[in-house]
Symmetry: C2
Subunit: 327 residues, 2 copies
């Protein structure tokens, strides 16, 4: 049984715990937390919750540590730090900083011959895989990635920081006409505004100025100014009832040409529709944790990404079974 450790018990930590329970070849060894362990109640019986200060004592008892922190401040520190003690895996998703994070984790993991796998999830992760496969197969073509319909945590937070806003949720919505234009092979040039719509559901503080809040949302640079944004004001009850889910999804397209005169067009489309973003993300993490163990057992070390992993390594089935039933 692969011994799994979880660092951080938020949405991702809980999702990981659920995914481990479903995996026939894995066992949850411990949950590590920066909080007082007595204050953290987990779902799995008889598994210890341990303060991070004791992690060093666990270094021979964990095959893979799943680091469930945030990309902004947690992972840039935690992943290199714990790659010195454990094989680790994270879902670092700040695309622009991946090369820097890779270099840090690579150096740390190599010191102690561990594997540090980064940026595992769906984007980066499964969407990256699809971009890479499709580009390798259709080198002459165009890529399109759409996100949603789903909740953007970053945009929801940005709205909540506006004065007068009590609570808010922001949905990123791909624009159907843009999807159809790509799907039909028209290779459209799409601006930011053409691809996604932003829809906000906002609960105001008593006495707040709705018009002012709406204006501030719609004009917020980077987050909203380049998009068409719809703002709805709702009461707290409606918010709790209809906007507490964590659904998400998205689309990756490659439209490419082959032929002596490039006369043939091909469209590859990959899409996901998720009821629970954190549970799906952790399901990806768990499959890659299996690969981390195998790669480490083979003697590999250093920083890895989904692009380095043979697909068969993700599976509980033997290579024979996979060839017979999945190929």
């Amino acid at each position: 049984m692969i011994q799994i450790g979880i660092l951080g018990y938020g949405n991702l930590g809980k999702g990981t715990e659920i995914a481990v329970a479903q995996a026939p070849d894995m066992e949850l060894a411990a949950v590590f937390t920066r909080r007082n362990p007595d204050s953290v109640k987990i779902l799995t019986p008889n598994v210890p919750v341990v303060n991070v200060s004791d992690m060093e004592n666990w270094k021979d008892k964990i095959d893979v540590l799943i680091i469930c922190g945030g990309s902004a401040t947690d992972l840039p520190v935690q992943t290199p730090q714990y790659a010195k003690l454990f094989n680790v895996i994270d879902s670092f998703d700040t695309h622009a900083k991946i090369p820097e994070h890779f270099a840090n984790v690579d150096a740390a993991a190599k010191e102690t011959n561990h594997i540090g796998m980064i940026s595992v999830g769906w984007d980066p992760g499964l969407f990256s895989l699809n971009r890479v496969y499709a580009n390798a197969i259709l080198p002459d073509g165009k890529d399109y990635t759409f996100w949603g319909k789903g909740v953007s945590q970053g945009h929801s937070d940005a709205v909540r920081r506006i004065k007068g806003v009590k609570n808010a949720k922001q949905y990123t919505i791909p624009i159907e006409e843009a999807l159809e234009a790509v799907r039909s092979g028209k290779n459209p040039e799409l601006s930011t505004r053409d691809k996604h719509l932003r829809e906000c559901f906002v609960v105001l503080e008593d006495g707040a100025d709705a018009q002012q809040v709406e204006k501030e949302i719609k004009e917020m640079p980077n987050y909203f100014a380049d998009y068409n944004t719809i703002v709805h004001f709702i009461d707290e009850e409606e918010f709790m009832q209809h906007h507490s889910g964590m659904a998400h999804g998205g689309f990756v397209f490659r439209s490419g040409r082959t032929g002596v005169n490039k006369e043939h067009q091909h469209i590859i489309e990959y899409s996901i529709k998720l009821d629970s973003n954190p549970e799906f993300t952790t399901s990806v993490l768990i499959a890659y944790a299996r690969a981390v163990k195998r790669m480490h057992d083979e003697g590999q070390c250093g920083c890895k990404t989904v692009l380095d992993v043979p697909p068969a390594y993700l599976c509980t089935q033997s290579a024979d079974e996979l060839r017979a039933h999945f190929l």
Copy 2:
């Protein structure tokens, strides 16, 4: 430059030639044929066409041989035979016989430390990858594969063998209601008849009995009896004008559940829409030929499939570039 050889110059051979010409890191070294080489005119200038009897003389001049034969009788013989001389790659697509073909190619390739990669294309191939990734991530779920709309060579051949048929083309068409039921997460139980429709365009010999031909098609066991089949009789001119293309496509779905009480559903959908089935298939072969070269350079040997290949190995870009721009 990776030196590529092509064995067999039919639709797949021609497609491979076109794909190699588009690859910046590859060069076509020779085309091998069972025919008289003088009778084979290829597109690429200054590349020799060589009879198969001379192939042994080329064993140090080819990095990867792309075997472009048929799965019924060519590949079971050719792939093991030439894996003793070259790194080889084929598109063997008789799913039920993959384990046997694997064993034969594995034994042959290991004799001389070559790599023999089999069953590369889109199904088996890209569809297999998607089944494996999606099953690893959503272990509790249901798979659906649909083919089309596209030409089935095997079914077209079967119709052409009927007495009175001069020419025929058969299209496999996924049934829209079934696709929608899967896409919406209903997890339907689908019979063969529920999933695909078969549509035939038939040119009759003079004096043939149309009613009799239609009856023979619709009642043909394995090929048509389990499907709803539509038969159109058309003249030769219409046939040539509208039914000489080689378009194809298909869909792979995984519908799975996560959550403490399996309360969350997730749908993964992968689809392709191809103007030219052989050119797309050979584009996949060429990307995997690049991986064969890399794996051989690392010292690997034996039979491999797409499930054994790290995605980064398919690309001309460096690992750094891939992480910076595709992850």
